[in-house]
């Protein structure tokens, strides 16, 4: 319970400072996905024609389906908090995270943020045909770092990834890396930037045990710098270690919001079946 006393002192401190500063506010947020092309199999040329001719009536038949991924979720996150998002698969955790980052439009409600929250992830900007070194620069620039900042941190990024421990791999194209090496470098690049509000989606499960320990450490470090951290993970122990507050989403609805211990206890009870405690 060292964690608990720790956050208790922190709370006492913020109370001393007399107010808690909100960094992310979700005000009854609804998120709805519209998926095209789910028409009943046949490649649906007729369905497409139907869609053009009768756009309204044909919407259902032609295979536009809606998925209500997040329903009426409200919460306030404060500066200095680390918040775990838990819930079974497909309960809307990642969707909510994307919406906080402003990358997924909300249907109803609003999400207010202090500064620009960013997802920890840079994979999409990297190119397998380029060397690791060029990808470090490309990824850093894509995250909005300046060339000087990247140059400054370049050595740290490479050292942290451990890519060069077994030879000069950083000057080889990334497609030649093993999947573990690739994900280590990707995490290292993504973790190189300081964020106001940091959103992490299952980033703790990459690489070997040694690298996992190192990345958990790095996330703790980023937590100190970042105002607020959100962590999506299916590893309850990772949530316990990192977060003092947890949000439990189930079928898009916010079921519980409270101290990690309490929420996880209820969640574990829920996932392990009726009333069976772990």
């Amino acid at each position: 319970m060292a964690d608990n006393t720790d956050s208790a002192t922190r709370t006492a401190l913020t109370e001393l400072m007399d107010e808690k500063i909100p960094t992310v506010i979700a005000d009854s947020v609804d998120i709805i996905y519209r998926i095209h092309g789910t028409g009943s199999g046949r490649g649906s040329a007729t369905a497409a024609l139907n869609r053009i001719l009768r756009p309204k009536q044909a919407e259902k038949a032609s295979g536009i389906r809606t998925v209500h991924a997040v329903k009426k979720v409200s919460f306030v996150a404060y500066k200095g908090e680390a918040i775990g998002l838990i819930g079974t698969n497909g309960s809307g955790k990642s969707t909510l995270l994307k919406a906080i980052a402003g990358l997924q439009p909300v249907e109803n409600g609003k999400i207010y943020t202090d500064g620009q929250p960013s997802l920890l992830g840079v994979n999409a900007a990297l190119m397998g045909d380029l060397t690791g070194e060029r990808n470090v620069y490309l990824g850093g620039l894509a995250m909005g770092m300046s060339r000087e900042q990247i140059k400054e941190r370049y050595q740290d990024i490479v050292d942290f990834s451990g890519i060069n421990e077994k030879g000069d791999f950083i000057s080889l194209p990334m497609r030649t890396y093993s999947s573990g090496m690739g994900s280590r470098l990707r995490f290292s690049i993504a973790a190189a930037k300081d964020h106001d509000v940091l959103l992490i989606d299952e980033a703790l499960s990459t690489g070997d045990a040694r690298f996992q320990a190192r990345s958990a450490e790095r996330i703790q470090e980023m937590r100190q710098h970042a105002g607020t951290v959100f962590l999506v993970s299916h590893s309850n122990s990772a949530i316990r270690e990192t977060c003092e507050r947890a949000l439990w989403l189930e079928r898009g609805e916010l079921r519980m919001d409270g101290p990690t211990e309490e929420v996880l206890e209820a969640y574990e009870e829920f996932t392990s079946g009726k009333g069976k405690k772990k």
């Binding site: 956050s7 439009p105 919001d257």
Partner: protein, 325 residues
């Protein structure tokens, strides 16, 4: 400290919904501590802004400028990645345009004989093909700039206009390789270097702005309706054939006496034809100013401004919708 978490109550009430057979669901408590207005007011009090909202135009331009290094790095990276698996590697940057020109020379110069009445036909044709390819591939890349990079758009935050602009920049770099090949051809056929070659710079700048604007328009259209990418090759091919890439528009007009004068003016004012002719005028000494359409620089600047500014604003208007769904 339990009072810190005010949004929902902590203890769920174990209530089983009749409809839920697969999973036992406790209905969440329906009493949020903060009402609707409260949260909005709280956000306003601390100066929080709506996540993912479209920034105003000047702010957008500023953000885009801040990402200029990303734009250039992304373009160069794409260009180098393009041929990195080929044995000859970057040699293809020059080989591809040369082979293209050879094919067009064979078809239009030799088989169809459009070279009659055109002096220095090889440089004439090659310049046309290269300059046209710049516009064509910029537009094609622009059409897929958002639709083809949804992963990037959904993962990272940056002004989306960076993507179409970056792709146009990649095409510009590609064109510079082609221009190197063109210089080789010019020397080979004996066209002497001239001071007018300096005009290549303003002509290319204007064409780049024009291309970027057009590809931003198509990036927005293509993001909403990916089908546009299937349609574009046909539109572009039609545009190519009326732009005098392989033949001289002047010869075409003088051959068809029945052509109304507005149609001739229209053919000459076509932006692709304007940029191609400017480049020919700059590089080929036998392509005199008399062959240029009237007010050619006005046209070139006008097209660049209309497409560039219009395209940028049009693209920005839908900024928050890219990557949706």
């Amino acid at each position: 400290m339990s009072d810190d978490y005010g949004t929902t109550a902590r203890t769920p009430l174990p209530r089983v919904k009749a409809a839920d057979v697969s999973q036992v669901l406790h209905t969440p408590p329906k009493t949020p501590a903060h009402g609707h207005g409260d949260l909005a007011a709280l956000a306003e009090r601390y100066g929080l802004t709506v996540s993912g909202a479209r920034p105003p135009l000047p702010e957008y331009v500023r953000q885009l400028w801040a990402r200029r290094h990303f734009i250039t790095a992304f373009a160069t990276a794409k260009l180098t990645a393009q041929y990195s698996q080929a044995k000859l590697g970057q040699v293809w940057q020059v080989m591809t345009p040369l082979l293209n020109a050879a094919v067009y020379y064979f078809i239009f110069g030799v088989l169809l004989g459009t070279k009659q009445g055109v002096s220095d036909f090889i440089p004439f044709l090659v310049t046309g093909v290269f300059v046209w390819t710049f516009t064509q591939s910029s537009i094609m890349a622009g059409t897929r700039a958002i639709a083809g990079n949804l992963g990037l758009v959904r993962a990272l935050h940056f002004p989306r206009a960076a993507l179409p602009i970056s792709f146009c920049l990649q095409q510009l770099q590609q064109l510079l390789f082609s221009m190197a090949a063109l210089l080789i051809i010019l020397f080979a056929v004996g066209v002497p270097p001239a001071p007018s070659w300096i005009l290549v710079l303003p002509a290319l700048t204007l064409q780049f702005i024009f291309n970027a604007g057009l590809s931003m328009i198509l990036a927005r259209l293509g993001a909403k309706t990916p089908d546009i990418a299937q349609l574009m090759p046909f539109i572009l091919r039609t545009w190519m054939y009326i732009s005098g890439v392989m033949w001289s528009i002047d010869n075409l007009i003088s051959k068809h006496h029945g052509l109304p004068s507005w149609a001739a003016d229209l053919l000459r004012a076509n932006p692709a034809a304007v940029y191609i002719d400017l480049m020919r005028f700059a590089l080929i000494d036998s392509f005199h100013a008399s062959k240029l359409p009237p007010h050619v620089w006005v046209l070139a600047v006008g097209w660049a401004l209309v497409a560039g500014v219009g395209g940028f604003i049009y693209f920005w208007k839908a900024e928050e919708t890219y990557g949706r769904g």
